[in-house]
Subunit: 321 residues, 6 copies
């Protein structure tokens, strides 16, 4: 188990600690081969060098894996750096992913109970059957509970996908009450599975990154394929119901430019899209406020992804009775 | 009171009926002046001509006003047309706007009770005071209850603005429960007034149209000015609270291209924007489905405003237990 | 079999002929129900009316089906119109689709031989197996040979998809010779199947139209799903080969705005995209030139889809030796 | 008063000087708290550190305020840095803003005379009254004379707003002579006030930055609100004249994407927009040429804001007689 | 010479008159060949038919030429139509182009004097020489005086190009006084020739249309080529001066999307662009106001090219002293 | 001749070597003037400083020229740097451009033979004459053989333009066989000259950069002007043939936004555009793969110009028989 974190590494310390290997590169300096690494955990990143046995250590672990290192904390260009003496791959039972990756503050088991209960409200027998089949696929559900909702922007934490899914469901339930033409079962099922492709789009070993599938197919199509395969296991699943459900997945990004191959063409699809946007943006804003707001700071740093600053407001709230 | 509607006019009938004057033009044919009109009511439109005393009748009423005409139903190029003998402006007590304009199916008094009750939940004393002042402005509230939510696209009916406002409030209330950083009073107040500028942007006399102000300033700025004036009546209204509330109004369209002069920069603003979009689009889709869906028709006509067809689905729903 | 075509219908004629039913609508005129239809064949379209037994005839056939009618050619507003006395659905053996739809000028059997020969050049055993499985699916191949390449713009004719596929293959073969990093087998297989989803995106009964699947999923995803299902029938099909092939299908539109959910990220994908564009545009320009160019006309009519006129040039070519 | 400037600070010097505080941050290094600052004046910026009493000094001044510091000039990573021993907030009478901010080269009093004379040419009694009221608001006029025309791009100097305003007026006067349908009084009044909202959008204390209002409302709406309030002080100001004037302010950015909530819909509005653009761009180009052109350099550095290099031309001009 | 115009043609009249031939098409009706024409002059357009000798008359004139016809005015579908008996091509000395095309209200000779006087203010000997060579090319100058400034949008009238050129010069002269870094001779020469390519881009025979060159090269490149050829006639014209002048022509549309192959990279180029835009838009707005404004009409019809209505204002002006 | 390259420079070495001068700047440090340089060759770049006689050495050579320096290799901030003692401009016969610039791997003489042979296949006597005239211009052909195809993105190497030209020709030849409406001679001639303006757009002395002409006119217009001048040397070159050929050059970028002043309006133009894109992108992808792919690396670095990563695939290929 980890006992210290990157943010605690002070020059002069000697450590024997677990880190995730984020980058590795064999380089040469004045005729000598050395290994340049980037290590990390949930608290930050640090550069590292290996001067001895660099070739052998290069083979010891792959990017994304957790390693145990013995190292001194030094500084290089006035920034802390690890000088690594020994390094080996960690064993599965030595580590807890939550030490390396940001983690949802919510209790994932309780969230999953919510998920299960929502499934039980579905009355349409085909949709219900489909959801049951998904839940019976325990390896899928395990990945689903652990996956992040995004790489950087929103819900970028272990369990984030489940959190996001349930928030979108929650807004859609409200909408199903408000608009009488909505097919509630269809909308809620769509909300439950709209981002399920993300289980194959992100790797969560050590740090969040896109998988090859995440880049080459995208989470929208991965989700569509996954649902297509599950549906085919259900004899007589109505063809038009399948089309409508897959349409919800495919169009949930709302626009072609946002990587949906079709735009929303049903009332359920248009609602799902805005529910998804609302929760994604509200979480992203919340995350920025929580990590950046300090006393006396009224504005966030520039948020490049949405080209704006975010306003935190005055420290004192006005008008609270 | 009206006894017949445009859709009922059969060639050969003689009518003495109220219509709204939608267009008027003095023209000449083979040396003779005549008056070409378009009449309408909530059921449709019909062309009309006046051959006698056209100059005088031209002055009798302005576009947008309701007139009473005595006329024969004829046909011109195989399409029904009114041949008008007499025409005068209607008196206010002779007409009911709901005969001429589409009207909300909801009970506006009950909706307004909702509005009032929502106001009473606001605890911030400045925001509460502001809302009270708005509600005390009875001429404003009268217009607010009657205004449409849009000219053509969503909530284009008498009372539509109130319906839309309350639906947006409803989604924002849900969001206020979900995201702990949200200033509930600010968000709900913003939802209540986000579109209030529309009372000055649309004329509702006879048919919905943009006012000069609606075109030259836009409903976003009209709303901002209105709130700015009301706030100035409240001694010591905190400056930053005013900025945050006006920011909600100004940014609620979400993007510059959609006529917001600033993009959402607070968590309340980003939520309000998507709540607004969700309800606007859900209502627009609902309206198209309700007016176009008939047995055997699975797709709407092409919807130019959003460049797509809308899918109604099969007549038989699948999988209902 | 058809003996006359729409373009030959002269007022005064009485006909007993097959047409495809393009639209049907029950209307009322002065209290009487009638049926308004649009009929068509490969030579054009004509309006039609049914005054007697309109309710019964309304049920006789659906839009897209071929009917046999007994009718008089009349005129309405100086345009020819059919006055229909009798109408019944045509039997399959009475009609030849090529009478109703534009048809490739090429011999589809010879084209399919080309297709088969191209498949035989594939050396990669997995890709070859996949193509063999596709070819063994005779119902799929039947649809593939008949499908159009597009609804309106390019290769909008029976057999057009096959023509287009082989042209894209041909350019890709050239490219595979030119660029040494290209995986020829992958590129050619991608070219062969890139548009295969179109077999499910277009209906070809009577006239070309989008199917529900064509609109709700799009041909890109339909093709991806189809290949995904076929690949799963091949034990041990390498996962990354599957990703690369599906990436070719998914990215072949080249940009998100053109309905590809991912952009081309391999050299094969970027080549396939431009080969596809080159052939699609060259065919579209050819079609416009062939159908519009007449002596003395140097420019096409305005081509709305690409916002330009097309230049045919002078009648006399310059400089031919 | 300042006696030396950032650009003159040589390592080894000891200084007691006024600088504006641009950034401040409390940090920790090897267990010790220190204060990291950025100082500046009109000649440039310099980093600074405080090792002793950092907590106390942190409270002494806010970002944007001018401070007096006693410090040694040292180097850090080969770049000059101030090691600060003492720091206190400057008193108003110790400083001259022009030492800290770039300043117009024009005589602002003469420019303001121009402004006043232009006002006197307005014949429309309502517009004239409005301008008189604005000029009577001495606190407003003081801010107006000092405000910059922009933060970085054009007229980013004290007095820049006044310079820009008069240049736009000048082009509009030319246009009023050229186009006979133009309402000269309206156009010139619009030109005089089009950017007046900038007095509330930029803070000029120490360095130019956006105010909270500048970001949350934008200068276009701030100007509109300001004029709206002033107009309300004039009994019987004609409603349509107010609309037309406010339209000039609201639409002067020319397009929605440029943060105008409405596009120009009058001939005066379209002229004002291009006059504004012409002067803004001509000033921005002039500024780049003046600050970057040196002998032998034909091209500016890359100008990111407009995605291009600017050409200065050869040193020798050709063809001058 | 013309004695009557299209707008005066009343059913029943017999006329022998000159019209420009706008369209011609040989058609067949019930087995008989006839000729369908569109005729026009500066007052409007009218359809025409030829029933006798249609084949021969088809050859008599080409689209764009002026013809003399002997015809009866009849009506077809309640719209006036010419029934033509005889038709022949007009001789050059029988017609005055100003009868067929909208014409500048300004005296073109006086305008050309302005042009000449402006040329005489140029002191740079190379630029002056270039302008002299242009003015010596009398066939070019003749076309330059007659050409329109655009096909439909701005200055679409005989002499419009000259009017527009001088207006742009006028704004540029103002700018040359205002900005001290501007090379006045270069800017004014650029203004004088910026649109000179339009002499080859529009045909003015009968009605304004694009020439083949206008479509295939565009007026920007036609102007660049023309100036390139003229410059090559001047021994030792400095290469960089030529680049700067051609840059003014090539970049004057301001953006790539507006068909400039390069964006403005000099201060003269950026000024010329906005001067050009200002005059083009002011003229287009003026034209719409002049042709559409009538008493009681406050708004123009929808202007598709700029996606907006134009506001004319109230009939009564407010505040005129 | 060069004997060592930048990549070989180890701290401690003394060198007397040729480098291209990429940047030069006179600076001051603690009161002393020094010269900061960037040197380079085809293997990389290195910073350099001159402490003695910096003013004189500043005048010795211009950016882009090759110099011979005597220098020590030192390090600055842990990065190698040249400390230059002496520097002089190189003589033409001392250097080989291929030492400083990336160079095509193809034999340029053989490529030029290809070019010549392609010219000989042109049967249209005017186009053939034009190509002969181009080939007779030996100074042009010399530049044409040496020019790069682009500055950074595709074919950025000596001879790259010729390589690219022949690849585009090759695809166009294939297309000319496939589409029967294509004028082969026109298309192939267009392919041969489409980028000929690049000989004037790029400077190749020392490193590739844009010339003033390259920036102020762009390669599209430079090519058009060049062909315009050559065509004018051919008596009776048909005007419409010239238009069609120039249209190919002007429209080959495909869209206005890509700096073509006109879009493709002929079938030859649309084919040329896609052939150009196909080869440019295929070469750019190839270049990235060749320079970045190493064992174990499946993805390229982020490619900013096309906003994506490029996928190299697994090291082991799947399914090779």
């Amino acid at each position: 188990m980890k006992t210290s974190f990157v943010k605690d590494l002070k020059p002069g310390l000697e450590v024997a600690e677990f880190f995730v290997l984020r980058k590795k590169e064999l380089k040469e300096y004045e005729g000598k081969r050395f290994l340049k690494l980037e290590m990390g955990d949930r608290s930050g990143r640090i550069d590292a060098v290996v001067w001895e046995n660099s070739d052998q250590l290069y083979e010891r672990a792959e990017v994304g894996e957790v390693v145990k290192v013995k190292a001194w904390v030094t500084t290089y260009k006035e920034v802390p750096q690890l000088k690594v003496d020994r390094m080996r791959k960690a064993k599965d039972d030595e580590i807890d992913l939550a030490d390396f990756l940001p983690t949802s503050e919510r209790d994932l088991k309780l969230l999953y109970d919510d998920f299960r209960r929502t499934v039980q409200t579905i009355e349409n027998r085909y949709l219900r059957k489909l959801l049951d089949i998904l839940m019976e696929d325990s390896s899928l559900m395990e990945k689903f509970m652990r996956a992040p909702g995004g790489k950087l922007w929103h819900h970028a934490r272990l369990g984030g996908l489940l959190e996001h899914t349930l928030a979108v469901v929650s807004i859609c339930q409200k909408a199903a009450e408000m608009y009488d033409l909505v097919d509630r079962d269809l909308l809620i099922t769509g909300a439950l599975v709209h981002d399920i492709g993300k289980v194959d789009s992100y790797s969560v070993s050590g740090f969040f990154d896109y998988t090859d599938e995440g880049r080459l197919l995208g989470h929208v199509v991965s989700g569509d394929e996954l649902i297509d395969r599950k549906i085919r296991k259900i004899a007589d699943f109505p063809q038009h119901l399948a089309l409508k459900l897959k349409h919800l997945i495919l169009s949930h990004q709302g626009q072609l430019e946002m990587a949906s191959p079709v735009v929303p063409q049903t009332i359920e699809a248009v609602i799902l899209h805005y529910a998804d946007e609302l929760d994604a943006k509200a979480d992203a804003f919340s995350h920025i406020i929580k990590t950046q707001k300090i006393k006396g700071k009224k504005w966030s740093d520039w948020v490049r992804l949405i080209d704006r600053f975010i306003y935190f407001g005055e420290d004192e709230e006005e008008g609270k009775t």
